[in-house]
């Protein structure tokens, strides 16, 4: 293809992408084949800016030259090494695996193999690796709910920086990670269990058009959320419902949504004496509220994780959800959903009351914006910890994160500076991979974030005891919210006793 044809083709491809005739993945691939890189995506296609910004685009399409130069320099001794990482299929991992890791591999000669799995399978892989101390994986993807379990099995990144000055990335700036995330995701007791790698967090997403049609305001409190949702279901049901939950029995998703309601009503999971208090007065109120909200949700909600919840909003079945912000860019994708441009993101509803972290146990931090972040860390059993440490710094540095956010479709960055990156901001328009919700994400992280407690038994409590108990409650096995919560409390006691 000659230069003129190439440009013309690119323009037509771009045009089709903007008009929604082409999905983001195909577009990205075509574009990169033709020499259009990451940032062109961030240019806001609405006014055909590509030709205008060509110089900027080509300059920014790859990792910054400084980063590449450093990788080339420091990576030499490790050429030929192979690194393995097992990760959940999240936007950052997908962006690294499919688009970005080739830059790292070219610069260093280190091969990176990424195994992409559903979350529970990642846990299985880590468990086997840790229990056998075999070091089959060099890097661990650690969900915040596992950080207590695996804290002894990974290097503390601060120690790595101090111990290996020759390998430390210039301007890595570990203080750039949002402090709330470090506390909520990566810290267990005094140790950093890796660095914050991704941050799905609950934000309020609602259908602006429906709200306007019915003369409603964005829900600012839990009461408003309920009354708005009731009004919508009453008016538009059973084709459209006011709210969709993630209430699959026995699944971690149900526990996530419940904690958000619990914290929003002034309750907490544990009290300062490390005793389960989900069955106290506030806990019962929260469950009563959840029950009321449940009544106006689509009937399928009891079988949905965030997957079904997201589809319900995407296909116009539900008008709002308090859930992972990562869904927002998907909702804006006109090839996949019926609601592109119709959704709006706001901060989560204000809590009715909020307990202070000091009144809770095990590092629990109440807040309506439930976070489900995860860390990336180097395994202590890795056979090539230094090469793994290089990869980890590269994967979590500001430059890479900005590329991830632009490429990976509006996932929430974990570093303060990335929120202000021009490449990220340029994507804040309606369309696939939008970043227009990120200011809300940032504010939620700073002010309204809720973090689950860290204790070794938490994996079992959060993915089994609580969601199984709640599932039974919503299936009608208990007489009252109180009875259900008391039963869950006694089961948790059994689990904690070991």
């Amino acid at each position: 293809m000659n230069e003129h044809d190439r440009k013309a083709y690119l323009a037509s491809v771009t045009d089709r992408f903007v008009r929604g005739e082409m999905d983001r993945r195909s577009f990205l691939r075509t574009a990169s084949k033709l020499g259009l890189g990451a940032t062109a995506l961030g240019m806001g296609f609405g006014n055909r800016p590509f030709m205008l910004n060509k110089a900027f685009a080509q300059e920014q399409l790859a990792p910054s030259p400084d980063v590449i130069a450093w990788l080339k320099d420091v990576g030499k001794p490790f050429a030929g090494t192979t690194l393995k990482l097992a990760t959940e299929s999240t936007p950052p991992s997908n962006a690294i695996n499919s688009q970005l890791k080739k830059y790292f591999e070219e610069a260093t000669g280190i091969k990176v193999e990424i195994e992409v799995l559903p979350l529970e399978q990642v846990l299985q892989k880590l468990t086997l690796d840790v229990a056998s101390s075999l070091g089959t994986y060099d890097l661990y993807y650690i969900d915040q709910s596992w950080s207590a379990s695996f804290s002894q099995d990974v290097f503390d990144p601060r120690e790595q920086i101090a111990a290996k000055t020759e390998l430390a990335m210039p301007n890595y700036n570990i203080d750039d990670f949002l402090p709330a995330l470090v506390d909520g995701i990566s810290k267990y007791e005094d140790r950093w269990v890796g660095v914050p790698y991704d941050i799905p967090i609950f934000i309020m997403i609602y259908r602006k058009d429906i709200y306007e049609k019915l003369g409603l305001k964005a829900p600012a409190t839990f009461d408003e959320l309920l009354t708005n949702s009731v009004a919508i279901t009453k008016e538009m049901g059973p084709t459209t419902f006011g709210y969709a939950g993630q209430m699959k029995s026995g699944h971690y998703a149900l526990e996530c949504e419940w904690t958000s309601m619990l914290w929003g009503h002034g309750g907490s999971i544990f009290n300062a004496d490390k005793k389960f208090v989900g069955n106290d007065e506030q806990g019962i109120k929260a469950l009563e509220y959840y029950t009321k909200l449940r009544e106006i949700m689509p009937p399928g909600v009891d079988g949905w994780t965030w997957d079904g919840q997201g589809q319900a909003v995407a296909q116009g079945v539900a008008a709002s959800m308090l859930s992972w912000g990562e869904f927002f860019p998907y909702f804006d994708d006109p090839t996949q959903t019926k609601v592109s441009g119709l959704c709006e993101a706001v901060i989560p509803p204000q809590p009715i009351a909020l307990r202070k972290p000091e009144e809770c146990g095990y590092g629990e931090i109440p807040g309506v914006g439930h976070q489900g972040g995860s860390s990336l860390a180097v395994s202590k059993y890795s056979k090539s910890p230094d090469a793994a440490w290089l990869f980890m710094q590269w994967a979590t540095c500001a430059d890479t994160q900005a590329l991830i956010t632009a490429l990976g479709g509006g996932t929430g960055p974990t570093r303060a500076s990335v929120y202000d990156d021009p490449r990220v901001k340029a994507n804040a328009r309606v369309g696939a991979g939008t970043t227009r919700h990120l200011p809300v994400v940032r504010e939620t992280i700073a002010k309204y974030m809720g973090s689950e407690p860290d204790l070794p038994e938490w994996a079992q409590i959060s993915s089994d005891t609580i969601p199984v108990g709640l599932g039974k409650y919503f299936a009608g096995s208990y007489g009252s919210p109180k009875e259900a919560m008391d039963d869950i409390a006694s089961q948790i006691e059994t689990v904690m006793k070991g």
Binding site: E120, L123, S149, S249, P299, G300, P456, P467, K472, S477
Partner: protein, 295 residues
Amino acid sequence: MAVAQVKRIAISDSPWPWLLPLTALLVVFTIYPLIYNIWLSFHEFVPKSRGLKFVGFSNWIQLWNDTRFWSALGVTFLYFIVALTIEIILGMSIALLLDAELPGFGALRAILSMTLVIPPAIAGMMFLLMQDPQFGVLPYLLDQLGILGKGTPILATSSLALAGVLVAEIWQWTPFMVLIFMAGLRALPVEPYEAASIDGASAFQMFRRLTLPMMSKVIAVAVLLRGIDLFRVFDYVFVMTSGGPGTSTYTVSLYAWQQTFSFLKWGYGATLSLTSLVIIMVMANLFIRIAKVRW
């Protein structure tokens, strides 16, 4: 004497050289796991020290008192019995129906076997999508037929969830039964049927007096093979319900998987697996005896 000569040769050659590869492989790869699991069931994994600690019989005592285990065992038995019964009756009916040279029946038999090549993990996802109360085709069809109310969440209703999983199970494995039974029907001798039809026996009488008794061994083998796998069912429940709602679809295999990998209770997981193994072995051996299967 020729016969004596044959006998001598037959006696003199030992089967063991022939059986050696099989025996060696099975010993290495099944006896070791068995011993390992027995050993493991007296230990428990300690997350803090990353090591195994001897705990005596406490896993076995815990098992005895674990209501979750007993309910999982109940679910497993229910699943086992319902699936096996339906698969056999349905499989036999379809085999009888299709055992004829009618237009397109060869193609039908081939199409039917397609369900077998779909991995259960994917089949589970298929039915998960098809049973979604909001978007799925199954609730839609059931609603149109007036069987279930609109939007009934099959997999999220305690009384229906197991049925929802069983739909996938039965869909996938009934054709397996059809294949086996069809093979049996094809191998039946013709003469008894001719005699019976001269005597004026009805089709049903022939089925009951001739087909069933002659097919009894085939049925027995089918029950044995499928029964063993049914008792270890994992993929469908894992994918479709994760055991929910509540504990209404927890099977022993799923519970053992979860104890082992989600909660790091390796010892208890091994205890559950061993219990399951013992139950299957006892049932299988009883069955082999009662059904008089001789290999």
